[in-house]
């Protein structure tokens, strides 16, 4: 009889060779520690606004428990089209150009599987969200990461993209505002990138799940740039803007051929997104603007607190312009990303995510989510300051799109009010 461990040889080598997420390992460590303040959470600390939950409950009461069409409720697709046009000036036909997906995660998988042929190369700016490269590998493609650096605000440039292009390059996979860095792209850089994309006949998959969480400047939707709409699969959803992560509801928008191809996979693997989540998403688009604006305002206030805190404690940190993450460099502590995260957790009971979980170029950084209460943030940064001070870090600088006039002295004590 076989012993259990030998079954692993039956697993598809493509899967067994895939490294498991670096976050997973750290999660186990955090879960084993009590009384932790977590800045490691990649989702809003708000609960879905009540009116959205209530609309969903009502839909259940009315008996909306059946399948929808593969592409999703037409009314929802119409609302999505309306929202995209109003927000970013890009028009989609709800009949043929929008597909409702089980979160952006499914949309990403569908887009990659529909477009990537074995051996195709997909360019991914790094540090990057953890699932991009594995999805590309599963589809038989090759993920080609392009490191971005703090000094350039973790932005990707047309030159860097051009330098990475080979005859096998097919897709550029973008995510701005970025998880984990909080970086945002300005319109001019995107226009330059659009030229490179067109010149080399590339496609774009653009994960814009954090688009509403843009605090510096305005978000530019990649599909809204001249000549890019047809080449782009736009992915977005409700998780971050409306605090709806657990609902698993998102959408893809693109040209009818791409959406039809993605719908084909979707209909055989997922059939349709859950109708309850679709009903809730519809309510979010109809009446969710006020609650969303209020949440974004809260994030922005916390963002400013966080930037200030890093400046005071002397950890170099690029000023994040979007999402709800800060990505400070921790090399001054003399620790690696993982050492920092582990020791900080053990000594101060605060969880942050080691930057190398987002690719090798994230080494030397940690990701701090500010989707946490002001109270927790203040306490967490107080502890981080003492943790860093004990390792010889002294206040210096912060890098960012805005220049800060004059260095401030380190805080003498905690402000009380």
């Amino acid at each position: 009889m076989k012993n259990q461990s030998s079954w692993s040889s039956y697993v598809n080598p493509l899967v067994s060779s895939m490294p498991s997420s670096g976050i997973r390992k750290f999660f186990d460590l955090v879960s084993g520690t009590k009384g932790v303040i977590s800045l490691g959470v990649g989702e809003p600390d708000f609960i879905t606004p009540w009116h959205i939950r209530e609309a969903c409950i009502y839909s259940l009461e009315k008996g909306y428990t059946m399948y929808t069409s593969n592409q999703g409720l037409f009314e929802l697709r119409q609302a999505i089209a309306g929202d995209l046009e109003a927000a970013y000036g890009v028009a989609y036909d709800p009949g043929k150009e929008i597909l409702v997906t089980v979160g952006v995660s499914e949309g990403l998988d569908l887009a990659v599987r529909a477009l990537v042929c074995p051996g195709d190369e997909v360019l991914i700016p790094e540090p990057s969200y953890v699932s991009y490269a594995p999805c590309v590998s599963l589809a038989g493609g090759k993920a080609v990461t392009i490191p971005t650096v703090m000094e350039e605000g973790f932005r990707i440039t047309a030159e860097k993209i051009e330098a990475a292009i080979t005859p096998r390059t097919k897709i550029l996979l973008m995510c701005y505002p970025n998880n984990p860095t909080g970086a945002v792209m300005d319109r001019r850089s995107l226009l330059e990138i659009a030229e490179v994309v067109k010149a080399h006949d590339l496609l774009v998959i653009s994960d814009e799940i954090y688009s509403r969480l843009t605090y510096v400047g305005e978000h530019t939707c990649l599909a809204s740039l001249p000549g890019l709409r047809e080449r782009t699969v736009l992915l977005n959803g409700f998780s971050k803007a409306y605090a709806m992560t657990g609902w698993r509801i998102g959408y893809a928008a693109g040209n009818p051929d791409f959406i039809a191809a993605m719908t084909k996979i979707h209909q055989y693997t997922m059939l349709c997104a859950p109708i309850t989540a679709q009903m809730a998403a519809l309510e979010a688009l109809k009446n969710g603007r006020l609650a969303m604006t209020q949440m974004v305002q809260q994030y922005n206030r916390r963002r400013l607190l966080v930037i200030h805190a890093f400046r005071e404690m002397g950890l170099p940190c690029f000023e994040p312009g979007g999402a709800f993450y800060a990505f400070p460099e921790i090399t001054r502590t003399g620790l690696s990303s993982e050492e920092f995260a582990e020791q900080f957790l053990k000594e101060e009971k605060v969880a942050v995510v080691p930057g190398n979980a987002f690719g090798p170029s994230g080494e030397g950084f940690v990701r701090c989510s500010y989707a946490a209460s002001v109270e927790d943030l203040s306490e967490a940064f107080r502890r981080m300051a003492s943790f860093c001070r004990a390792r010889g870090v002294r206040p210096k600088t912060i890098l960012g799109p805005r220049s800060f006039a004059g260095e401030k002295k380190p805080a003498a004590g905690q402000a009380t009010g």
Partner: protein, 159 residues
Amino acid sequence: MKEILEILESDARLGAEDIAIMLGMDKEEVRRVIKELEDNKIILKYITLVNWEKAGNEKVMAMIEVRVAPQRDVGYDAVAERICRFPEVRSVRLVSGAYDLAVFIEGKNMREISNFVATKLATIEGVLSTATHFILKTYKQDGVMFEDGEKDRRLAVSP
């Protein structure tokens, strides 16, 4: 100014320094605005919302519907202001509908409250009638749910 008020209304313990950072304002400017809001009685007081029941402190609250005969020139104001002066009275509001003033009273026990209504409140000139409703349980006050089941249930770490 509106933003400062909103922040303080949600958490009165935040200091001018934190508020200044959160709003991208100058610290001294925030201090000045808050001082002005206090001087102009736009900010009246910083208080703490307490769940006294949980603290094991037995208090009795009642809401009294008061019908009042309005007076020439001052309407309901004179009677309302008289009612306000009693320290037992926690809040007084003029309302539309079947009665005129909604008065919230706090006391050690039911007898104390009924005593107050009978001897102090109902006897005020201009008060036509009272109807006393004892508060049995508070579910939500000032936007805060007392028994909130909506705790942070997120995973401690997620991508």
